[in-house]
Amino acid sequence: MAYDKFTILRSAAVPMPIENVDTDQIIPARFLKATERKGFGDNLFRDWRYNNDDTPKADFVLNNPTYAGEEQSRKILVGGKNFGSGSSREHAAWAIYDYGFRCVVSSFFADIFKGNCLNVGILPVTVSPEFADKIFAAIDADPNTELEINLPAQTVTLLATGESESFGINGYKKHNLVNGYDDIDYLLSMKSEIEQFATTRPY
């Protein structure tokens, strides 16, 4: 599925300094029953965001008008350590994208979630624990402080202070994100090589 190309992103961020945010929290299993990819953003963090009677939980960050609320336009989510653990459900990445985020920053990502993000056009940015703390502190001091995520240069910068850190991504995935390509395009282009390889497999 096509996604927005990613080059340089400047935005204020939504802070979520919680460790081990698993994909069951990002989107609970009962919302995985769709057969099409649409509307998942409505159920992003469903059980942290809403009470059982569907009224918003006032103390959850996505319901806090300082950071989010109905007029949410922030493109960056900053999470705690081990973000996206657990289930492989790509719906978690779809929900984050559909809600409006294009980048998730954390000091540590779970593997499958990270791969899913890259496949749907969300940039997972891994920063050092120290820089993550700096980002949380900066947002704490000024909720509207902006971050710049520069994919071509592979840097994340706190614009208020100019403090910056570089992040890793392989050249292939970077090229894909900058151009809006995906792995299937690449794999389809090597179909005959794959068919040849398949004949060599014992099963």
Binding site: M1, P17, I18, E19, N20, D22, D24, Q25, P28, A29, R30, L32, K33, A34, T35, E36, R37, D47, N52, G80, K81, N82, S85, G86, S87, S88, R89, E90, H91, A93, F108, F109, A110, D111, I112, G115, N116, N119, V120, N170, G171, Y172, K173, D182, D183, I184, Y186, L187, L188, M190, K191, E193, I194, E195, F197, A198, R201, P202, Y203
Partner: protein, 466 residues
């Protein structure tokens, strides 16, 4: 002499078609399992591109995640679940993919039916849109969970693009004590290295404990690899593995089988091969385990206390949030905590050995009146075996009933939801907030610990009932 290689290297390297410059490996996939939840959007994507399924005989479909576990002969009541099940059937039919839907005699949880029908074989690469695909690593396969975009890739091209993970070996040496099951081994390791301790790694399990472990036990441990953050885990195939597979319905037969045996026997880590991390544990340190928090790393011996915040790897704020959700406090003893529900089942512990273990405790006892117990076999084949071995009689006499196969309360996509605030001792794999139903509180444990809770109504040490 060639460079010594690990088991993982041997299998991975044999499947790499191309190494992308400054990028991932293009990995050929031998077997692909699909189910109703993570495949419909992949098929839509395929159609949107005008692509088709490249090798339909390498993909196998089974319905499990949101199937009901009662009255499976009736139409599925939830229209959304029914719609997903219909989509799976429609897509399978359209591309002529094997489909073991609801009601099929081979139906069951994908990670139970794959091995028990001989679809899973040593040396394979196996993927599925489900993180517990790591289960199949018990046979010396590289098996891991993938997202829906990758499901689409495998359907269209039989390949995915993955950077090669780092390698970790986890050895457990010595002999397991009384009442200590493979689930306890897995929960113990995770409690020692945390729920993210193996992120970025692929694990090989080695040492005495795994060499002497049954295939059901190896599947339980490999299944839980993802709960320590690993992409997957594997055990070198040996006679135990081959004996389990030989003669299974879809396993190679006769000469075809014989020709593969020498290759399978070569699938072990060479002397001198190196790992990025090499961890060793002593079997004698492991007692029956139970979790008290909201990630699988927050577990301890069933006779122990809940640790103080300083003693755990998670940050204090996250740890306190976790205990508050559970309604527990630091320093409390686990033994004696009231239990409302017991769940025996899932791709972790829904196999015949798990039901044998559960029955060994409840035999001659009665289910506690305060406990609601859901006993869900992993497949119809497991269900049939439970009946043949007389286990059903034991369970019935003790006041338990058997449900029909499926993922059930493990992820609560069907009606099997633990009510808010209630405590469930579950043999499944995740104790995340709301995993077994909004507000549900999960204590992960082995089938023996689950059985002990089911007959006493509280967290109990199964060794005292053996």
């Amino acid at each position: 002499m060639s460079t010594p290689k690990t088991l993982f290297d041997k299998v991975w390297d044999a499947h790499v078609i191309r190494q992308v410059d400054d990028g991932p490996d293009v990995l050929f996939i031998d077997r692909h399992f699909i189910h109703e939840v993570t495949s419909p959007v992949a098929f839509l994507g395929l159609e949107g591109r005008g692509a088709s399924v490249l090798f339909n005989q390498r993909t196998f479909a089974t319905a499990d995640h949101n199937t009901p576990t009662l009255n499976q002969h009736l139409p599925v009541a939830d229209p959304l679940s029914a719609n997903q099940l219909a989509a799976l059937e429609r897509n399978a039919n359209r591309y002529n993919i094997s489909h073991w839907g609801l009601g099929h005699q081979k139906n069951g949880i994908v990670h139970v039916v794959g091995p028990e029908n001989g679809i899973t074989l040593p040396g394979m690469t196996i993927v599925c849109g489900d993180s517990h695909t790591s289960t199949h690593g018990a046979f010396g396969a590289i098996a891991f969970g993938i997202g829906t975009s990758e499901v689409e890739m495998v359907l269209a091209t039989q390949c995915i693009m993955q950077p090669k993970p780092q390698k970790m070996r986890i050895s457990v040496n010595g002999t397991l004590g009384k009442g200590v099951l493979p689930k306890d081994v897995a929960l113990y390791i995770i409690s020692q290295i945390s729920a993210s301790g193996a992120t970025g790694y692929f694990v090989e399990y080695a040492g005495d404990v795994f060499r002497t472990m049954s295939m059901e036990g190896r599947m339980t441990v490999c299944n839980m690899s993802i709960e320590m953050g690993a992409r997957g885990g594997m055990v070198a195939p040996d006679t135990t593995a081959l004996n389990y597979l030989n003669g299974r319905d879809l396993a190679p037969k006769g000469e075809d089988w014989d020709k593969l045996v020498p290759y399978w026997e070569s699938l072990r880590t060479d002397e001198g091969a190196t790992f990025d991390q090499d961890l060793t544990f002593d079997a004698a340190d492991i007692e029956p385990q139970i979790t008290y928090g909201t990630n699988p790393g927050l577990g301890t011996g069933v006779t122990r206390q809940i640790p103080l915040a300083e003693a755990v790897k998670d940050g204090a704020a996250s740890y306190k949030k976790s205990l508050a959700y559970m309604g527990f406090a630091e320093n409390e003893t686990m033994i004696g905590k009231p239990v409302d529900f017991v769940f025996l089942g899932s791709c972790t512990n829904g196999r015949i050995e798990d039901f044998r273990a559960f029955a060994s405790i409840v035999k001659g006892r009665k289910k506690a009146d305060s406990v609601t117990a859901w006993l869900v076999p992993g497949s119809h084949i497991v269900e049939a075996q439970i009946k043949e071995e007389g286990i059903l009689d034991v369970l019935t006499e003790a006041g338990f009933a058997l449900r029909q196969p499926g993922c059930s309360a493990c992820l609560a996509m069907n009606e099997d939801k633990i009510p808010a605030g209630k405590y469930a001792v579950s043999t499944s794999n995740r104790n995340f907030e709301g995993r077994q139903g909004p507000g549900a509180r999960t204590l992960l444990a082995s089938p023996l610990v689950a059985a002990a809770a089911a007959v006493t109504g509280v967290v109990s040490d199964p060794r005292e009932l053996m």
